[in-house]
Symmetry: C2
Subunit: 339 residues, 2 copies
């Protein structure tokens, strides 16, 4: 591999100074038409491409942001990542990804991002830090946009209104006549699970239904699998007639257990999924589900990030709320023996 051509080579070939080359290429300062042409000709002739590393060292900006997430292979996260990457690239930024399965990795990755002089971090921390003084995000000097997480200290963030969404789902099921509704969601250790549980309880209250702990599965650790829990729930003296569940894994496990027991969907069990269409299309009947737009969420993320980087937003942390909607499928019906 021959050594790359630099500004110096271009300057020599064009018979001008390196300063002039730089000025023409960056449209900074004055440059006569003749000089301009000479430089541009030399550039194309030599196939010059500026070295990003050197420019970076000189100007101090990398035009790159980091994306910290617990698990890239999670389909929902991958879709969000995908949209963010596209939007940032359109804005001239590139994306460095880092997966952080543990809180310790959060800190490590943030330091890594800082040392690489990234200009900001979009993050879905795997855990929330109750104490701001030990929270690595608080300590990080970079602009940060949180996705559906709360970290005590106020950060720019894009939040999904899970509370509202679950409320709608529960109300819909109640309208159909359901009184025993199971909820499978993620741990209350992070915002999505916490808000879903809150929305669930609020909606039950509004409907005058009792909250039954036995019907909710919000695993902190996976001591008990969704399969096991679903089995136990179906053996209750008063089993649920409806299920609201997140994601592909939990939902598929729960539904399979139900079907293995001979239950028909929606005749014996109504089901509402939470997630994207794509994955849930596989089920038959198509599952009624709670969805929100990744596109909108990603746009908000990128907007907040760019505003913060450019300094357009210098004030306090901003929150953007994204609203889910209930998309009707064929997985819900009136319970068989409505009370």
């Amino acid at each position: 591999m021959s050594t790359r051509v630099s500004v110096r080579d271009v300057a020599r070939a064009a018979g001008v100074s390196i300063g002039s080359v730089s000025r023409v290429l960056n449209d900074s300062g004055y440059a006569s038409a003749a000089l301009r042409k000479a430089v541009l000709d030399a550039v194309t002739r030599l196939g010059y491409e500026p070295d990003h590393t050197a420019r970076q060292l000189r100007t101090g900006h990398t035009r790159a942001v980091g994306y910290l997430l617990p698990d890239i292979s999670n389909p929902a996260m991958a879709m969000h990542l995908s949209a963010v990457e596209r939007l940032l690239r359109e804005a001239g930024y590139s994306l460095l990804i880092g997966s952080s399965e543990t809180p310790a990795r959060d800190q490590e990755l943030l330091r890594y991002f800082e040392n690489h002089r990234l200009e900001g971090v979009i993050a879905l921390p795997v855990a929330e830090y109750p104490d701001p003084s030990t929270c690595p995000f608080t300590a990080c000097g970079l602009p940060i946009v949180l996705v559906d997480r709360e970290l005590g200290h106020p950060f720019d963030s894009v939040l999904v209104d899970h509370r509202l969404g679950i409320g709608q789902a529960v109300e819909y099921l109640v309208t159909l006549g359901h009184q025993r509704i199971a909820l499978f969601a993620s741990s209350v250790a992070t915002r999505p699970g916490r808000e879903k549980l809150a929305g669930y309880r609020e909606a039950l209250d509004r409907a005058g239904l009792a909250f039954d702990e036995a019907l909710v599965y919000l695993p902190d650790q996976w001591l008990e699998s969704p399969r096991e829990r679903m089995s136990a729930i179906l053996q209750l003296s008063r089993p649920p007639t409806a299920l609201i569940s997140i994601g592909t894994h939990m939902l598929s496990a729960a539904v399979r257990v139900a079907r293995e027991r001979g239950l028909d969907i929606p005749r014996d069990l109504s089901v509402i999924g939470i997630g994207t269409t794509e994955m849930l299309e596989l089920m038959y009947p198509p599952v009624t589900s709670l969805r929100y737009s990744f596109e909108r969420s990603s746009q908000a993320c990128v907007r907040l990030m760019l505003e913060r980087i450019s300094g357009a937003a210098a004030g306090p942390a901003q929150q953007v709320m994204v609203y889910p909607e209930l998309v009707m499928g064929g997985s819900c019906a009136r319970p068989r023996c409505a009370a």
Copy 2:
């Protein structure tokens, strides 16, 4: 934000020269125990972190590789990406991702990666370039590892033996008594579709069955949706009794059409999916499917890349083959009226 601490600050605080600081930190050259301690103390006291950009400019290596893929939100690709990211990071490298939906973007991204001085590129090009002289990958000076693609010019690559996999799937169905087997896969414009078609034809030949073009759907453009095609296929005078299909989207669409027509799986239609467990678990009965290990594929990718970067592999391009296996579910049965 206060200005960062540099080697100079550390040197001053430790009462030594910047050269000594660098030597201690990089374990290069000599350093007495006393000097060593003084430097290390100053480093921790000031919280010094080396600037990656400057180091990069000086040493010429970025310890970063690019990952070029058509679509991050594709679950299979996301899983591969996820594993690659983890393995590379363990080896001290970071990953810059770039999604390229069109061939024009391939070139743009590769140039981008070159200018950013990445040390290599792992790529799943969206299209294959028949003419090596117009292939941007051939022009790219960086080490390249291709994932399940062939680009004429020999590149390091990790390939899946789709031909073998489809062969197994067809043979299994033939053993059950099927004679009309439909195939839904990606376009023959890239390797996966091409190899699948080849494996399909070979297996039919071996079984003494005729190839019927009407039963294969390998869309180049999506002029016709999987739904439409499946509808047409089921209206044939001799409709298929079995279906082999890739991915979540095609498979779910095809299966849904079949079910809407009242067909039962596996009684009226046997189904073999190609992809990962996770997604296909949603179906009931669980779908028999062709799988290969993303972990193994990713490991091979990273190994090839690191060998090429380190210079350990200086010879001709290497190919690593990954073999799929048929995982039994409950979506296949003998055809209703076996000939």
